[in-house]
């Protein structure tokens, strides 16, 4: 029973919906950006032109197209239609309108598009955790904050008689913690998997310096200044890695740092305070890999958002700001529903909570120039 209680408390302790809502903005924003950068006709046209013998659908693709047959292969036109529908669902999921439905649509669409691309015997790793994060958000109350849905709910509460403009950072749920925890654990498992394979295949030889030099030089020669996987390989201009890759000692130290980082990242889940140390190292790790090897794992950096207690960060930043500036005062008339509605609307975008609220009936304040109608 104690174990069950601890398990429940770990996953389902009340947590701020703001944190979940903020992560929704980040994850959906990153995925939307990624999709918006695609030229759907070109991308799906090229894939559709590949011969049938290369088509080997991943399980996700088979499941998503199951009603159409186990090995169904969609046409380029169908993929372009799915692309635009996914993009539309993504915009709704980002602003948080009908959030659960739009998030489900966006997640399924994103999975489908990516699974199709990966059904031609070429799978990459950087996008997987983004899709898993989307999946978790779609199953959670991710629209409970920072969303049109939430704003409309707060405005409806005013119509029902609430006379205080609500705090956008308020709102907690027992279901707001687990999705973020799942993504944190997936991070830990990904890094552990990377360390497990390196040490399993090569033991301590992996940190001999030559190994990292080899891969850095290989990628730098192969991709030049293009992002890995894009453009034609073996560009005329080699990348930054050709210079860095010459330094054996640097490579040896970097190998040890990489292995230590990957094999110990999971400790962050047990000791969350270590985030202050681990996340900057992780950012440096992925940005370094991107610059030197051109491997685009920057989505990992964005997804580190799941480790940050955003409501606390905004609240504390707001307190810090309020001590240094003269905070604006939002006056409203608690007897007037339209005034409270307007104040609720304005306050909704004050994530730092620096706006002071003052209930001021116009008659008492005289001119009432600052009083919302």
């Amino acid at each position: 029973m104690i174990m069950v209680g601890a398990w429940e408390r770990y996953w389902f302790k009340k947590a701020p919906l703001f944190d979940l809502g903020f992560v929704r903005l980040v994850v959906v924003g990153v995925e939307l950006y990624h999709l918006a950068m695609l030229r759907p006709r070109a991308v799906f046209g090229q894939l559709a032109a590949l011969p049938d013998f290369l088509y080997s659908p991943v399980i996700a693709m088979r499941l998503l197209t199951l009603p159409l047959g186990w090995g169904y292969r969609p046409s380029a036109d169908a993929m372009v239609v799915v692309y635009w529908l996914t993009l539309a669902a993504g915009v709704l999921a980002f602003v948080g309108y009908r959030t659960t439905l739009s998030l489900i649509g966006f997640t399924v669409g994103s999975l489908f598009l990516q699974a199709f691309e990966y059904s031609f015997q070429e799978v990459h790793h950087a996008e997987a955790i983004v899709k898993i994060a989307l999946l978790m958000l779609a199953l959670s109350p991710a629209g409970g904050a920072l969303s049109v849905d939430d704003l409309l709910r707060r405005l409806r509460n005013v119509d029902r008689g609430l006379r205080i403009p609500s705090d956008p950072l308020s709102g907690e749920s027992r279901l707001a913690r687990w999705p973020l925890l799942v993504v944190r654990w997936v991070f830990a498992l990904i890094y552990l998997s990377a360390a497990f394979h390196k040490l399993g295949a090569s033991g301590f030889d992996w940190m001999n310096g030559w190994t990292l030099q080899y891969y850095v030089l290989q990628d730098a020669l192969r991709w030049g200044r293009s992002v890995s996987g894009s453009g034609s390989a073996y560009a005329v201009e080699p990348g930054l890695g050709v210079w860095i890759g010459e330094y054996h000692t640097v490579a040896t130290v970097a190998s040890w740092v990489s292995i230590l980082f990957e094999s110990t990242f999971w400790i962050l889940l047990v000791v969350p305070r270590l985030a202050l140390l681990a996340l900057p190292i992780g950012v440096g790790f992925h940005v370094g890999i991107y610059l030197i090897q051109r491997a685009p794992f920057l989505s990992f950096v964005w997804l580190y958002a799941v480790f940050v207690p955003w409501s606390e960060v905004f609240r504390k930043s707001g307190q810090w700001l309020a001590r240094r500036i003269s905070p604006p005062v939002l006056r409203y008339d608690p007897l007037s529903a339209p005034s409270v509605r307007h104040a609720t609307l304005v306050r909704y975008f004050d994530w730092f909570g620096i706006t002071g609220l003052r209930a001021t009936p116009p008659a008492e304040e005289g001119a009432g120039a600052n009083v919302l109608p």
Partner: protein, 134 residues
Amino acid sequence: MLQVAASFDLFPLLFSRPSNVFWPFINYPMYRFARYEGAVIERFRVYGQTADGSEVEVTPPDLGLNFRKFQDIAIGALRHQDMPLVEAFAEIYQRKTGTRLVRIRLERDGPILTRNGLEPGKRVQLAAVSLRAR
């Protein structure tokens, strides 16, 4: 649980299928093999011999592939002498360029990693296959 199974390569054990098939729940084995001083930073080149005896370099766009697919699938087929696959690619080449190949060979070159930096490596022929007349 899915990511645990993926991370530690349990999917191939449980389902006899490669981990990649279970995307987005996959393993992360990239760059896992140790390398040592003297390693050749491999670059592969594919050459096709046409019916008139001349030789042409076969590049990824000639087969409608990107670099990764070219390297992993087309070159993989040549290295493993997977003839049905090699012939299928030769057919694509013929369709795209109008040139029929009668023989394909795979070469490896690339610099050598040494204490004094990169040194030029030798060209080595890894495979050569003759194609059936179609």
